[in-house]
Symmetry: C2
Amino acid sequence: MSEHHATPSGTPDVTNQLAEWIVGLNGADIPAEVRQEGLRTFVNWVGCAVGGARHETVDCALRALMPFSGGKTATILGRPERIDTLHAALINGITSHVLDYDDTHLKTIIHPAGPVASALLALAEARPVSGEDFLTALIIGVEVECRIGNSVYPHHYDRGWHITGTAGVFGAAAAVGKMIGLNVQQMRWALGLAASQSAGLREMFGTMTKSFHPGRSAQNGLTAALLAEAGFDSSERALEAPRGFATVMSDKQDWSEILDGLGTHWEAALNSYKPFACGIVIHPTIDGCQQVRAEIGDRVTEIEKVHLTTHPLVLELTGKRTPSTGLEGKFSVFHSAACALLRGDGAPTAFTDEIVNLPEITNLRDRIDATADPDCHEASVTIDITFRDGSTLRKHVERAIGSRDVPLSNEQLNTKFLDQASLVIGQASAQALLDLSWTTAKLDDVADVTRLSAAGQDAAK
Amino acid sequence: MSEHHATPSGTPDVTNQLAEWIVGLNGADIPAEVRQEGLRTFVNWVGCAVGGARHETVDCALRALMPFSGGKTATILGRPERIDTLHAALINGITSHVLDYDDTHLKTIIHPAGPVASALLALAEARPVSGEDFLTALIIGVEVECRIGNSVYPHHYDRGWHITGTAGVFGAAAAVGKMIGLNVQQMRWALGLAASQSAGLREMFGTMTKSFHPGRSAQNGLTAALLAEAGFDSSERALEAPRGFATVMSDKQDWSEILDGLGTHWEAALNSYKPFACGIVIHPTIDGCQQVRAEIGDRVTEIEKVHLTTHPLVLELTGKRTPSTGLEGKFSVFHSAACALLRGDGAPTAFTDEIVNLPEITNLRDRIDATADPDCHEASVTIDITFRDGSTLRKHVERAIGSRDVPLSNEQLNTKFLDQASLVIGQASAQALLDLSWTTAKLDDVADVTRLSAAGQDAAK
């Protein structure tokens, strides 16, 4: 552990050191590979935000809040409506998470981009910023929330906190604070105001309120930075004080996770992107089935039966035999395998009510079974296929696509982006938005991306 | 403990039963004395909200957030600006708490009116409601937050949560939900959305963020009710689930505090009102010194020295010998005693920079000393006065004004209201607002009170 300034009680001045690092960091000092991962994080997030834009959760939130919205200063990605800055942070945070298809910091299960990008992009329309400065702020926000998450994980998560919300608010505050140029004292206040808004219960999983968490943490972190900028003060020891965030909300407080290697070790470089729009435990199966399909082509129609050998969690979490809705399909490894074999699909299109009830799919689904193997790695699966002619095929996936060992390539990110965004804003608009998103670092005004995300919405209607 | 429906695990369905009670309650079934206490709660809150309206904390918050505010649909009590409904809930919650002069539920130290009244009144300008229905909703909100507070107090507070924020958000959601007519399912969702926004750390005490808590809980509870109304769902077991509010945020969960005696026992009837604008431990001393002043009149100028015998906490928390600012004056029992003897004042006017440095006051202040007596009750004090001619006077306060045994009379509430509101909106406007506030139950539109609170602001300039 590196040497830290410490308070009299022996606890380092964590909030202050973190604030100093955030404020002092020069974007040019972020290594190129970290900046590249930041760009991938942003491109993936834009696709998810557009992809989720028409979900009923978003419709509900807008129905409730639009009457109370202020100036139409900000874009809701993938939708025709405009809304005020603070609500845009909320809504875009909801849309980007609502399909369970966003990014994952695997060490903490934080979905980092939602709270941070939603807050930054909403404000960027009111206060223009270059793509380069935007990406610097985004990377800092992701770094801060993941480090704070690390300092309390897993105890904090085990207690019942939805860590994307509770840690995400710090990421949003830090990112916005960096983007608007807070000084160190204001940054400490922003982190303090974030700490006093840190919330979100895992009890909400399975309801719309789960997606509310990244949205609200984006909005709260943005508010924290704006208040701090205006001189609204808070505790300057919000992370480490005896009644601060880490002690009140977790049994574990590891300050070294926050302070060690700042600027040399980057959690933001470890972000990962879901290849499939469902729980991560099914991903090896979908990956393997897609590989089988790629290898055998039309012979998928000759499959007699399929046997999966999986990690036990797969059946525990996604063992639904006869799903009847799209949402239930996400909790059925059998549907997911059938859909991947017959259609090669693991995108949101694989989890619609229509697809889940398609006779072609349900027919194969009912001929798939599975065995839990405690020795099977979480990112592995073995798929045994028997064809009508009696021949067999075995496909073993050692590590699934999207795991830390097999990250999505840029091409795979592109496919993921287009598959979901095209459904919402049309194929041509989705392609244009994707192309522009990859050029973010060169944009004079990052809001060009935001505006283009909405402009295409008519094309899809 | 009464009979409750229970979940299979033995935990009663707390959220559901509470929601059923809130939705089913007829305002006419609330006992007259409870309704009267609800009216007193409201009158006291209006005075505090107006009284705190010009505090720099409020200026800061408005400087940050006004540029992002929406339609000017709501009044900020005591100020000329108008703001959108959701931000009005936030700002009025801040103003009403910022002088530490609001109401107190003594069992939990919750300041009940801030989160609830701020949310209700902000929405009442957008959706008109009668004074009677408003008071019903207010009383329900106070009841809900205090009962939920009781269920986790003191463990929850001891862990570091600012209970006015964490429990207040439920009060605001319940109150607004009642006012807008949510059904039982929507009310369960509103309570769930409240649970996932429950936040606020005691670490923030001594900073502006402390006042932010009642404001944000008002805004969050209001948002929760509006979302639930639009069909935005959440867990329906947010209070009692293993990963719900009470277990995640407290080591104690006493469901009987929430469920027992609903509609017959009223926590809302136990609200109390601070007679003086400072920490409650100094209140017996100010009370006693005011009584002495009333008895001896001009002889206060002949006082040679004063000796206080107090509860030990008094010197621990408010033992500042030579305060130099108004804020420091709140932490000096010596200043408070001198000011009460010489000017009869314990209102915010007693805690200005000017008064704290007035030679007449500091001169007497320096001739006051105090002894801590472990046998002295928290609400007691003994004041021994020696005059220049050698004569002495002893004043013993058995229970201070404002304690549960000696509640403020309506006349004392009036004085408190006028003393602070006159400084902000002028005496005539303050009197008119006070008179109107007492007639709330008879108003066709409760927003008449809100509008009048702003109308007078020019008079004070």
